[in-house]
């Protein structure tokens, strides 16, 4: 057996590649300051800054909520509520935490409540579906043949079911880690628990997912 150097597990963390992580440190710090600065401007009554925050965080937030509750309509309602709460809290805003941590804490809280209350009963989303007032939805560009689409849907169903079968908190941790590329500490801050508790949640979740999804090529 080939041996290994002892690992610096503190360095083993989230999703982006090592080089990307190193290179993005300055950018992340700038983003933190930028979001907080925008929110402080919102606090001072600047509506344009709120529009910028909405535009920047709308998509990841809705995607996270959709993967949590697996219902697009409910996900968008919850996302609206998140932004409403952000706006409502503007006068008391203090940049003590990363803006996205605060945002996802509100979102996770709403999603967990929704799941607990059983309001996320799965509705069938259709590609032809329009919003309530008839405005067409923004569709991602998916250039697939019918056969590819069927295969994709079968694969997607399996993934969605595997995620849905996870306990809600494990689900939130996996979604933030995998899709939002959050580090353990930030996930811990969102879920209001320790780093070690987050690791425990994540590794149990990934172990469960390995059991359900590892057969997929």
């Amino acid at each position: 057996m080939v041996g290994m150097e002892p690992l610096d597990m503190a360095a083993v963390s989230a999703q982006p590649s090592w080089n990307e992580r190193v290179n993005s440190n300055v950018t992340a710090s700038a983003c933190l300051e930028r979001d907080a600065e925008l929110m402080l401007r919102v606090r001072d009554g600047d509506q344009t800054s709120f529009s910028l925050l909405l535009g920047k965080h709308r998509v990841p937030l809705i995607h996270f909520l959709f993967r949590m509750v697996q219902n697009q309509s409910i996900a968008e309602d919850l996302a609206q509520e998140v932004f409403l709460r952000v706006y409502r809290s503007r006068e008391n805003y203090q940049p003590t935490a990363k803006f996205t941590t605060w945002l996802f804490r509100i979102a996770t809280h709403l999603a967990l409540n929704c799941i607990r209350d059983g309001k996320h009963e799965k509705l069938q989303d259709s590609l032809d579906q329009h919003s309530e007032d008839g405005t067409p939805r923004q569709l991602p560009d998916r250039a697939r043949t019918v056969e590819q689409e069927l295969l994709y849907q079968a694969r997607l169903d399996e993934v969605r079911q595997a995620i849905q079968a996870l306990p809600a908190k494990q689900r939130a941790a996996v979604l933030m880690h995998k899709y939002e590329e959050m580090e353990y500490t930030q996930i811990a801050n969102v879920l209001s628990c320790s780093d070690s508790a987050v690791k425990s949640l994540l590794f149990r979740a990934y172990e469960t997912l390995r059991g359900r999804l590892a057969h997929m090529a």
Partner: protein, 145 residues
């Protein structure tokens, strides 16, 4: 220099390896180890498949009017706040009206009848009493005579 499965580092290590977030040196060392450790190789491959399966879950579509709905909810809440403030003031209006009526009534009421008679009335009574005494005195003197 032990296998990660024995050192308790396995879960975190293989998740980070699948996410390509390991430091380059650690990643290289793990790959060397996996070349001779079938168990770790299989675990890493399983985790990579999970990662790949999760990657296939593409984002869903978003309503074109999402922002409009957010602003509508903010505006509705603003109006609700104004209505709530008006509603909160509503009970105060009749109370204020009642207070105003009471105050006006107090200010416009007729002067109260004085409890003590005026000094002028006292003097009249005194004069009458003195006249009565004089008259009685005269009558008494006349009768004595």
């Amino acid at each position: 220099m032990e296998c990660p499965r024995n050192s308790g580092q396995e879960p975190e290590l293989f998740v980070a390896y699948a996410a390509e977030s390991l430091p380059p040196a650690t990643s290289t060392a793990l790959e060397r180890h996996m070349a001779v450790c079938a168990e770790c190789r299989r675990t890493a491959e399983d985790q990579r498949r999970v990662w790949s399966a999760l990657d296939s879950w593409e984002p869903e579509f978003i309503s074109g009017d999402f922002d409009r709905k957010v602003y509508a909810r903010i505006a509705a809440e603003g109006q609700r706040s104004v209505r709530h403030a008006n509603w909160a003031l509503r009970p105060a209006l009749p109370i204020a009206a009642v207070c105003a009526v009471v105050l006006a009534g107090y200010l416009l009421r007729e002067p109260a009848v004085p409890q003590n008679p005026s000094p002028r009335v006292d003097m009249e009574q005194v004069e009458r009493a003195l006249d009565d005494i004089d008259m009685l005195n005269k009558m008494g003197v006349a009768s004595q005579d």
